[in-house]
Assembly symmetry: C2
Homo-oligomer: 548 residues x 2
Amino acid sequence: MSREKLRVIPVGGVGEIGKNMTLMEYGENILVIDAGLMFPENDMPGVDIIIPDMAYLLEHQDRIRAVIVTHGHEDHTGALPYLLSRIPDVPVYATRLTQGLVEVKLKEHKVRGVEFHVISADDSLDLAPFRVEFFHVSHSIPDGVGLAVRTPVGLVVHSGDFKFDHSPIDGRHTDFAKLADLGREGVLLLLSDSTNAETPGYTPSEQEITKTFEQAFLQAEGRVIVATFASNISRVQQVIDIAARHGRYVAVAGRSMINNVRMAQELGYLKVPEGILLDAEDTRYLPLDKVALICTGSQGEPTSALVRMASRDARAIRLQPGDTVIISATPIPGNEELVNRTLNNLFRLGAAVYYDELLDVHVSGHASQEEQKLMLNLIRPRFFVPIHGEYRHLVLHTKLAEQVGIPAENIFILENGDVLELDNCSARVVDRVAQERVFVDGLGVGDIGEIVLEDRRTLSQNGFVVVVVVLDSQTRYALTTPRIVSRGLVYNRDSEKLLQDMENYILEIVNEGENSATLNSRLRETLARLIYDAVGRRPMILPVVIEV
Amino acid sequence: MSREKLRVIPVGGVGEIGKNMTLMEYGENILVIDAGLMFPENDMPGVDIIIPDMAYLLEHQDRIRAVIVTHGHEDHTGALPYLLSRIPDVPVYATRLTQGLVEVKLKEHKVRGVEFHVISADDSLDLAPFRVEFFHVSHSIPDGVGLAVRTPVGLVVHSGDFKFDHSPIDGRHTDFAKLADLGREGVLLLLSDSTNAETPGYTPSEQEITKTFEQAFLQAEGRVIVATFASNISRVQQVIDIAARHGRYVAVAGRSMINNVRMAQELGYLKVPEGILLDAEDTRYLPLDKVALICTGSQGEPTSALVRMASRDARAIRLQPGDTVIISATPIPGNEELVNRTLNNLFRLGAAVYYDELLDVHVSGHASQEEQKLMLNLIRPRFFVPIHGEYRHLVLHTKLAEQVGIPAENIFILENGDVLELDNCSARVVDRVAQERVFVDGLGVGDIGEIVLEDRRTLSQNGFVVVVVVLDSQTRYALTTPRIVSRGLVYNRDSEKLLQDMENYILEIVNEGENSATLNSRLRETLARLIYDAVGRRPMILPVVIEV
């Protein structure tokens, strides 16, 4: 038996734990599972995306045996361009569709020369000291896998994102048999998807929503427009199938949707009847009841195809009464206001709108409580770590694990960066790898942190005032009237009195001959008080004193 | 028959229509129904609240006969301090509890000398040419009323916020009998609450959640902490009753909760068993299983009592494993992230947490579809205007009205500001009263608009750069090195190269002797390009050129 231990480390962005990346380390060998991104919350202004902290990986890049990607969603793949541009010579393993989706992203980021290995769920990889096997999982994207990793201390199972869909659109079920085999063999540790730990029962099958879609297509007088996630290839297949049955042509709108559909079709993951797929432009010449459109915008993203239509963007398709819009997604927390606005605008245009609050037009891609218990019972692990979820989901998942008989002391709720160390009979949290949120803003990766964000929040609340005073370095008298530059505080044209008052106060203070050491702070304090008394706001105040 | 017509005008804030205020005008007489506020959305940074545009009322203040307040929620009362400080001599009519809640607010705003009339649901007011009667409605606050307004052209019914709760906590039902009487008499126009037009069936009774609360109290080893809206007096009564049954003392935390509970108790709307109510401070000396706490924070508001506890604020009660927290509310759209963060922190502290996603700990105060139909069928109005809801809710409410037999041409979906004109047999939209969003920020009411908000959004995304150049007015040479003030763009300490590059470019441009007319724009463009190439961001760039 080895003296060496296995270390499991969830790495992540904001809120969710172990979602974007999980590390397995044994001796000088690291297996990286997924490299995804998170989207910023509403109080992280200007941040484009958040990626996992890779400091530990960069420091130990010689140890990395492989990056294994479980499926093609951005929260599992979106950080790959950042990882691979900094650590280019690491091999990446993914299924065919996942690789196709990743390559679209790598191309956008101009990351080239990646060593890609396309795997299938039946493969077995020798990445000594690890042996990695896969099992197919059904999810809201085809070609997802979970992992069974044989390590010197025992077998570790990582569920990936999964549900047990008994009638998946692509006909491929989560591999019960292999899971049962693994369980029978004996599993040391299970890491399993906690996303829907709040939801009792079973997640409905993707087929469940077919009924609602059929009804929408039957009743639609004009076009049928379906908005969903660009990666939701199964949903796209569903819409194409139904459109074909109803004699409608299909067009695709939105850059990411167009790219993904093209790629999925090329790789054979989308079955498109001959001649049914048209350019969105060309649908203009067809009768409205012969047209179906699949597009982006299900989250109310301001530049998406659906939002452009809803807000009558001149370049978008003009919606009209009789058109039907199906929003086949639920809002990600934080996007509710944008989605509601889009809904209201669609109603204003007179469209018939189907959305999740009203009708079954979306199902989750994640296991609900009964499925989470089924996974636990199939695998019957010695130790259990809930991953993929916010802290409360992990806690709720542990309750389910306890219900099916896993002792509480064998269950570990980790935070991102926690190091769980295991040998073949014990597990404990021994360490913590520093985890900063790495914000990407424009070209900058990790160059803005809490200080800059705090400044942005302050600026967004009450704006700023820069006061420029030019002094004669000899006499210390002002050489010009003070210049005041302010934005976001008041509407300057309506605030002449306040600006005039500020100018007067500044001149008064300056001409008292205050010394340089204290002039700045006196200006700041005086103006802060003046502004607060006048309008009750606390802008950022920045005096600039120049002596010439 | 009068030649004069009745004009009905919904006035409002953001998103919802006719929620915050409705005007009824006949000749030179205006009845104001409610004067509430809205909370800003996430893309309205720095805005405290939004109030209805009162320009029309200010212009015609001599016409105002009365302000009638249907119930004590802020979205129906919160603009009263602003209305009454500008139009002080208008009489206000409200029930006892509503008046109590309004007076708390008026006191905070130092608005005095308001002419208040306490009414009961049985009263009838002669406000010629209107005669106003009331009917009790059950809602998530006691003492709510709807209005029956007799006008020269016919009877108008305004539902207020209502549901048909068959077992309300205070024992008072929505007045079916009076509604049926009104319907029999013949109603020209019904304005009715659309909030829950997306929800099929009936809204469960307030009593429904008692079961879950009882269970929580039974199982709780430590304290039981219930967070809800400060105005939800019925929920507070429920918690007090259950706590009493389980032998627990009750304390109240959070300023608005403390004020409301005190006032409701004084007015007799809260029945508190002798000696059960303690100061939160004093509960420290009691065994944990003898304590229940009612507090603010159900929306994750950063300074609320619950959020302080969740984030281990030193001044707050220290939560510990064994404590139970019940969040008896659903997140208002836009607050989901704050609520989720609070939930995660409560789980991190080891509390048992009951919340709406998991268990029935909250019911809506608004009628669902079947109740909306019941209201329509009791009143059987000739014309129907859905109010209280976002646009999509109004549309869905009209579908229900059509289902129960109201002709589509007799239904009007108004936007805020639309003027619906009625005589005794016809109705049509004839006009539109300008509706600006009136933002309150600090002491300023309506002084910031879209331009300032847009500046704030830009600042929040990428910050700003102010560049100060001092020129010799004779030689046009720079007298000092340029001064660069920047916040929210980059972390300045790590960006010395960028700042140095900016300085060099500025000096170069200045010393080319560019004339004053174009110097500013050249500086702005050059710096914009330099910054975008370096970090991919577009900050606000503001050159200040001073000649001495």
